[in-house]
Symmetry: D2
Subunit: 320 residues, 4 copies
């Protein structure tokens, strides 16, 4: 029998098509390189590469792109028995990325009726979740039915079985119908989760821009279920807030930035790995930052995920 999964990620598994040529507008780039993408897929790959036992619950197209995603996840050691293929001809989401300069990256997303939004409660067994340690929910999975209901169901199963729930806000301005809708469902999940991770911008969107600072955002949520809130500020670092009032500042690792894509997913991978290995929150923020720092200097989000050696080398090189 398979040993217990330490993490299941839930939601979007997609294809990234990164402009092969840098520093040019996308209308002039002529070739694209294909990678697996989507925040929870990247986190599954990242944490698996660091050594965690990881599975993913997702839905992809029943075509060459879907096969590519599944094959890559398998090759990365991710358990993919609950990565289902859509039977209605829906396509895997696409993200074309353009790297004009480190400060100016933009994307073109194909998310219309994407297969991942049709992940439903029938696509997985409750037992798969019950037998895991942690469940990571991605905000994008809440943006449309039936994926939204599948996420709520997965969270309910996790909570009833004592499985830790991690919520990565992962806001993408697609498929949501209104700012109220975003706020209502992201807030509902954030209040039920044990750990909430997001950028300052994502917290603002969830809070409908009521101009909370980090302290206020954390205080609001810590009154509910969460025990740990992580708010990220890009190159300016990150901060963690705990239920007992502790505030922990993250470390910053300067690097030559090629693009900013994938920073969040690699941060989450390093951070979650460190928590699983019983590192302190301070150390976990270090692992997250170091991991992010490595990915932003490389071309892809998934393929570039660092090894534990890469991360620890970087951390060590900044000490003493």
């Amino acid at each position: 029998m398979m040993s217990k999964l330490e993490l299941i990620t839930f939601g979007r598994a997609a294809v990234d098509l990164n402009a092969t040529e840098y520093n040019r507008p996308m209308e002039e780039t002529m070739t694209f390189t294909k990678y697996v993408g989507g925040s929870p897929a990247n986190i599954a790959i990242g944490t698996s590469k660091l050594g965690l036992k990881v599975g993913m619950i997702a839905k992809v197209s029943d075509d060459q792109h879907g096969n590519f995603v599944i094959n890559y996840l398998k090759k990365s050691g991710v358990d993919s028995q609950y990565i289902k293929k859509d039977t209605q001809g829906r396509k895997t989401g696409l993200t074309f990325t353009e790297i004009k300069s480190p400060e100016e990256c933009s994307i073109v997303m194909y998310r219309e009726n994407a297969a991942d939004l049709y992940l439903s409660v029938d696509d997985f067994d409750d037992d798969y979740i019950k037998n895991a340690e942690s469940l990571l929910i991605s905000g994008t999975s809440l943006s449309q039915s039936p994926s939204r209901e599948a996420a709520f169901h997965a969270i309910d199963v996790a909570k009833k079985s004592g499985v830790e729930v991690i919520f990565e806000l992962d806001y993408r301005p697609y498929t949501w119908k209104s700012k109220e809708e975003i706020s209502i469902y992201m807030t509902a999940v954030a209040r039920m989760a044990d750990i909430v991770i997001g950028t300052r911008d994502e917290f603002d969107i969830m809070e409908m821009n009521i101009n909370f600072d980090d302290e206020a955002s954390a205080k609001e949520l810590l009154e509910y279920t969460p025990r740990l809130i992580v708010i990220k500020h890009g190159v300016k670092g990150s901060r963690a807030f705990t239920k007992d009032g502790e505030v922990i500042e993250g470390t910053i690792y300067k690097t030559k930035v090629l693009k900013t894509f994938g920073a969040g997913d690699s941060f989450a991978s390093g951070f979650i790995y460190a928590l699983k290995k019983n590192k302190s929150i301070k150390e976990a923020l270090q692992y997250g930052s170091a991991s992010a720092s490595i990915v932003v200097s490389k071309h892809s989000s998934s393929e570039a995920m660092p090894t534990i050696q890469d991360i620890e080398n970087l951390i060590n090189s900044h000490e003493g």
Copy 2:
């Protein structure tokens, strides 16, 4: 003032992403090369390259892919004043192509809510059509509203002004809702057109597979408006039928086939060019076949469109 356009093509302008590596399943190919695609866009490029004055009526995304399409058409000499950008965030259609072997090519299409299907009667001026010699309608533009109504309106304007209507069946198994729907709208347009061009398979689909042979298909339509019907049989050549009962067999130009994509569009380009230059139908079929023969030996559908020199060299090398 701009001189009179000899041809306006109407409908789909899209992006092709061709697997850069040949003879491998697409799940294993890692890079894609970008080209303009879509049958009426390819025909606009092909005929413009041959020297006709050509315009296109189309709708693309308001993003980098849309810009690329418009820029490429302009560079190819196609008048693009009525290539509009969608204001609702809809995307340019995509076609990923996989070339496993000359006999085994397959595609993955992203057509969900594509911008071209939202081309509407408000996107162009009737005078633009009235001032042209010929209007080419692509079957795909009939597959959904409001593009369907825009096509019917364009045809009505053309017919009332004595503008020749050419119908390229261009059947793609996407966005159509039922086989009856396909048949009803394609038949309605075929009966109103002056020239109808399609593969045997496309005629079968239009006729709901009642097992007509070429003669029966042609006879049925020639009772209505059409004066010329062209039925293509791939490498086995093509046949033209006229209102006064003539049947003209096309010439076959053998080549080393890389892929079959784009054969139809290059055939139409060569064929229409020759008719415009007052060649005989027999000669026009030769120009079409030679043009197709050149494109199937190359990697793209649009970029690979031959010059008049290329076509005539090939024709001449087979004679005498």
Copy 3:
């Protein structure tokens, strides 16, 4: 074996709920009386009552309202073997009518996703149409797919078998998406029909308000298939135009008007009946006007349809 049907009507069969109290705004009326409604259903009832052998092709809800419609049509002598019940829970359309005064009648229509719009080519056999003398198409059936394609298919079957096609414009401002859509499909059908009947307002809508007078409207269509165009002007009478240039003015029968609903359907019933009985066009216009005159003085559209005796009594009482 059933003897040959003289008429098949195609399209909307619905329920009318007429305010029982007259001369009051509907928000104050407290009871409604139920009748069968929908233009082609009313014409089927009207012509059957006059003695024609009539059938109807339609789709209704699988509930008490659908049963009521079918039972009433059967009781009225209409062959209802191709009045199908929707299997997806869609409802029969409703029309609430308010009679504030003879000049001020208004309606509230429930047409959202109505069962009749889902009539499809699979719901009837081509042979049913082939064996009839005439097929009456209602404009409302063109307003949405798949009912639109079913209508086009029915017309195609009729034309190939020499069955006369009568087109009742029956414009209702519901479910159509744009004025171009209305014009395109109504014009396409009008050009294929043998007889076209509509009000001046309906012709204006079909022509996109280009300010044709009756002569111009008729001339435009008579260049295509139609041999007879009837344009109605309400209480000011009606006019018929034939292919050989004849213009026939209708007779006017003054009456005490209770409401204007149902006038068009009763006109069509009387007019079609008279043509079938080889009356002259002049006489047919008399039968139509007399029939309309009787219905507008009564509470319902369907139940109030006159007998041949009623019509001929009225005509005779105006003569000599």
Copy 4:
């Protein structure tokens, strides 16, 4: 200034069309009598008639049916400043009722794209809720967006301001997409409410038929926010469960049942009124049952709502 509202009901305001003739199948009934309907509208009318200060947040059609609903609610003393009219032409929901016998009542509902499902967060001010004592949410308002998000937002405002939340399960098998969807949203709201009221069948549906008995259903919810759970068993009475473990059995008032429609809404009206007047839970169940008993013996759900005198007379006549 208006004094504080004791109750705001939130959700469906509709029109009931009750067959005027009893004991006949609806396909044979010929007239219908019009009443205001919809659970939260009925409860607003019922509690207002009993003397509470009540408002309603709802959306109706901008037509004669919408006017009727608003006028009737105003006449019943319900504050209707936040009963908005839909600006997109959507219709007020309809319910046709058929009373074949007291045991055999059935309905035909028109809920497709009904105006009430388009109630949105923009349609009301948060202050309106903040200034009330209690907010009653109807389960039907959760069945579709944007009404669902509006309900979640209203609940969030209420909870942050200390306004009591009452959840009437009000399950109607329309517009919901799957049984999981029903369960997820109804459970989420039930856990946030202070008081939950529903029939045994409705609890079963919310729990996805896991065969809980009343005790288990109550225990599950009382672990969250609710302090009072009421489970109704039709003519067999009702039971209330409190957070401190008390179980209170309701009284049964036998009556000559005409139809069962409206029993739940009149129960809620009497029950909520009594709680507001500081009656015991035992007494509140009596008021609820007496109120229901009166309504089921009459023709309508809204018009038939009893006065406090009616209720207390019935209660007193059963005592001593």
